[in-house]
């Protein structure tokens, strides 16, 4: 079985979790005997191609046929400025950096025939994202033509690549699978960006099968996008760990309770603060750390100051690379109070570092974990109780840490990939039966 896959990023050049998830998933597929051609807007040449073949969309000449401007894709796309909420898995710093950089790239290079244009994709989440999304579709059409006969199914990851997936399906007639790593509702709450919503919905309607990263996401897809339930399957993410366990010397004796993620509405940072204040009322030997940054950061800092707990509640700012591991290694409890989390990899990383974890019931990862304390994100009393219990009764914390590690080690991409492969087989059979 061969799959033509459209992504937006691929390790090592990633801004967030999408690329990491795609990497784990393609490895798993390779182990399951599936050949993957992975198209990214911009390939750098140093991608790990042991398991897949990476195609750089920036190297493909997109041919503009007459009447191209009237095509379905172009009609539905308006170029627009984007805001950071639209993009999954990206930090505000990253967004700022990319936005300023994207002003420099993204020019069309005319090489000879004006109807043959090679577009230099940034492959980032820049200000001209919508334009890149549309151009990516043009390139995808060309890729699908050139690779004719080399794939049996098309797989597109997140809304950024849906137009590409649809275009490839149009020219090849192969079945399309779209993968929802996050929905617009997760990113923006109820105040959704209607353009993104329309692309997501259009992509899922055009697809033969929709994969959701959790039942939570699957329900949103069915209820808020009106996609027929039988067309949507859940494939829980897994996690791959690099072996970079580091021993970190602890500076403070107090127990450390950590929140790590973007400080945005979606991640529920304010509930963490309220729970912290409750815990600190009962026991002084705990420190809370909020690692990350985001549009709610100043609001959260003010709230911490007002609650009078700023000497026990610390902010690290945005953490990168080794500092993330260091933060996990220093933590005694990890809390993910997300208001809405399609999946949520970070608790798995915490558990992998032997840290007992509290997660919100409104997260996809809650569906696959038994040895994590689960609370409603808004129930700060329950959250405070759980934190208090884990830091005060060592036996409880140790149990969760030990069992949690076993559990997280059991989450394999191979298993997830097998399920994805089944999905491929299903749509290929459907297609064959139709013809």
């Amino acid at each position: 079985m061969r799959v033509l896959m459209f992504g937006w990023e691929f390790p090592p050049h990633i801004a967030g979790g999408l690329g990491t998830a795609c990497y784990g998933l393609t490895r798993g597929l390779a182990r399951n005997g599936v050949e993957v051609i992975f198209v990214v807007p911009k390939a750098y040449g140093d991608e790990d191609q042991r398991f897949i073949r990476v195609v750089n969309a920036s190297d493909v000449d997109a041919v503009y046929r007459s009447g191209e401007a009237d095509s379905e894709i172009w009609r539905n796309v308006k170029f627009m400025e984007i805001n950071s909420n639209m993009v999954p898995y990206i930090s505000p710093e990253q967004f700022e950096r990319e936005r300023s950089r994207s002003e420099k790239v993204g020019e069309v290079h005319h090489e000879g025939d004006v109807w043959r244009e090679r577009y230099n994709f940034s492959g980032k989440y820049g200000a001209n994202l919508m334009e890149e999304v549309a151009r990516y579709a043009l390139v995808a059409r060309q890729v699908a033509i050139e690779l004719e006969g080399q794939f049996d199914v098309i797989h597109a990851h997140d809304w950024l690549t849906y137009y590409a997936g649809i275009a490839a399906k149009e020219v090849s007639g192969k079945p399309l699978v779209v993968h929802m790593h996050a929905t617009e509702y997760d990113r923006s709450g109820e105040n959704i960006n209607t353009q993104t919503y329309a692309i997501e919905r259009g992509g899922m309607e055009a697809a033969d099968l929709v994969m959701a990263v959790s039942n939570l996401t699957r329900n949103i897809i069915i209820n808020k996008y009106g996609i027929p339930a039988e067309k949507v399957i859940t494939v829980h993410n897994a996690v791959r760990f690099a072996d970079n366990d580091q021993e970190v010397e602890r500076g403070v004796k107090d127990k450390i309770v950590t929140f790590l993620g973007r400080i945005t509405y979606q991640k529920g940072p304010d509930y963490f603060v309220e729970a912290a204040a409750k815990v600190l009322k009962r026991t002084p030997n705990v420190r809370f750390v909020m690692a990350g940054s985001g549009d709610m950061m100043n609001h959260v800092i003010r709230r911490v100051a007002r609650l009078g707990i700023a000497d026990k509640f610390h902010f690290t700012g945005f953490l990168k690379g080794a500092d993330v591991q260091k933060m996990f290694a220093l933590s005694d409890v990890y809390v993910m109070p997300s208001v809405s989390e399609p999946f949520g990899i970070s608790p798995l990383e915490a558990m992998r570092s032997n840290v007992p974890t509290i997660i919100s019931k409104q997260s996809g990862v809650a569906e696959v974990l038994d040895y994590a304390v689960k609370v409603d994100y808004w129930d700060v009393d329950a959250m405070a109780d759980a934190i208090y219990g884990l830091v005060t009764y060592p036996a409880l914390g140790e149990l969760f840490a030990r069992k949690g590690l076993e559990e997280v080690n059991g989450l394999k991409w191979n298993t997830a990939a097998a399920k994805i492969k089944e999905g491929y087989e299903r749509v290929i059979n459907q297609m064959n039966n139709k013809n």
């Binding site: 800092i301 003010r302 100051a305 007002r306 000497d311 610390h314 690290t316 700012g317």
Partner: protein
């Protein structure tokens, strides 16, 4: 004959380095040594040394007719000792002329007077001892951090034996009254209060190099003329400003040093003006009235209150947590801890946490090492948390 009272404030805080959560418990060096050194050396070269030399020359030329008053914070002196001892030498030269008065103040340029009379007194005593040690000089008058003043603070200052104190000629306190007279504290009328003429002071401190200002360029003759003019009523004209005005806020290229160089002659030539130090001026003029100031005022911002330091929840939280350590620090009475305690109290840290940066943003951002009030708060609290932690450890060891 009106008395012109020139007073300059000299202060540099010890700036904190970027101190992250990961540093806590391991790293107890909180200061950005290289920034503190380079700023001190720069300001010394651009302001303190050239201005001290100029003042010394003017004092000698005018043979006792030209007088100035200084206050130098304890933290500034500490840094002079470490980075620019030549500045201390030049202040000693000035002290020897007999035409220069040094005021007492809070050692740390702190806000202690707003929260703890005990800590306030300790700081003033420490600063007085420092003045004696460095300049062989015992201050007789007082000025509080950023001219913070209230009836109660004045009363405490009087109880410490000072004769006069400086304050802002704030409109909301003075009402129709003029700052150009000597006033008495309302609770302890022995204490005389000199009020800053902010209009004339800011003509130099803020407007001197502003080419959009109607009076630009300001000459010493024009300025002396305004003060000598009979429309400028009163007996004393108090020109109080940051010493860094000369060469830092107003660069040498603006002609500020030439202005100062011509000022004594221009003032004295009017025949209506003389110079006086703070104590001298306060003693020579009977108070015309009692100054009522129930709420603390200062010379900062449009509001002339203390909201530049204690105006939002970040500042209040940091302030409360800092002074929560007071008793423990004194119980320890350890040199290293006192050193940190002193620089942590500096009002500047709280100034960096201000969020009301509109009209006065420029002033707030001057010398400000942080890009936002929130970062200033986070960094300060990280240092403070580690310091508090170390205090607990030291106290436990002591027992």
């Amino acid at each position: 004959m009106k008395t012109v009272c020139l007073y300059f404030q000299v202060h540099q805080p010890l700036r904190l380095k970027t101190y992250r959560f990961f540093n806590m418990g391991k790293d107890h060096n909180y200061l950005d040594v290289s920034a503190n050194r380079s700023i001190m050396q720069r300001v010394a070269a651009e302001c303190y040394l050239p201005m001290n030399n100029l003042l010394l020359r003017l004092i000698k030329e005018n043979e006792g007719a030209f007088k100035v008053t200084f206050s130098i914070s304890g933290l500034a002196i500490e840094q002079f000792r470490s980075y620019t001892p030549e500045v201390l030498d030049s202040f000693r030269e000035l002290a020897k002329t007999g035409c220069v008065e040094f005021l007492a103040e809070s050692y740390s340029h702190s806000l202690s007077s707003l929260i703890s009379p005990e800590e306030f007194k300790k700081e003033v005593e420490a600063h007085t001892a420092l003045m004696k040690e460095e300049f062989g000089y015992t201050p007789t008058s007082f000025r509080n951090t950023e001219l913070i003043y209230s009836d109660v603070i004045g009363e405490q200052v009087a109880a410490m034996g000072f004769k006069a104190m400086l304050a802002e000629g704030a409109r909301h306190v003075l009402g129709w009254k003029s700052p150009n007279f000597v006033y008495a504290n309302s609770l302890e009328q022995k204490l005389r209060v000199l009020l800053r003429n902010y209009k004339l002071s800011d003509d130099i401190a803020f407007r001197f190099s502003n080419q959009g200002w109607g009076e630009y360029p300001l000459t010493a003759e024009k300025y002396a003329g305004w003060i000598a003019d009979e429309n400028t009523t009163g007996e004393v004209v108090n020109l109080f400003m940051d010493y860094e005005t000369f060469g830092e806020h107003q660069k040498a290229s603006s002609g500020i040093f030439d202005f100062v160089a011509s000022l004594p002659k221009a003032m004295l030539a009017t025949g209506a003006l003389k110079f006086g130090t703070v104590t001298e001026t306060a003693a020579a003029n009977q108070p015309t009235g009692v100054l009522y100031c129930t709420h603390a005022m200062s010379w900062a911002d449009e509001e002339r209150d203390v909201t530049a330091w204690l105006g939002n929840e970040l500042q209040n939280e940091a302030f409360g947590k800092l002074y929560g350590l007071q008793e423990k620090v004194h119980e320890l009475n350890n040199e290293d801890f006192n050193y940190v305690w002193n620089f942590m109290k500096a009002s500047d840290h709280f100034y960096y946490m201000a969020t009301k940066w509109f009209s006065d943003g420029d002033v707030h951002s001057y010398f400000n090492p942080y890009d936002s009030a929130y970062n200033a708060f986070i960094n300060y609290m990280n240092v403070l948390s580690d310091f508090a932690n170390e205090i607990e450890i030291a106290l436990a060891e002591k027992e």
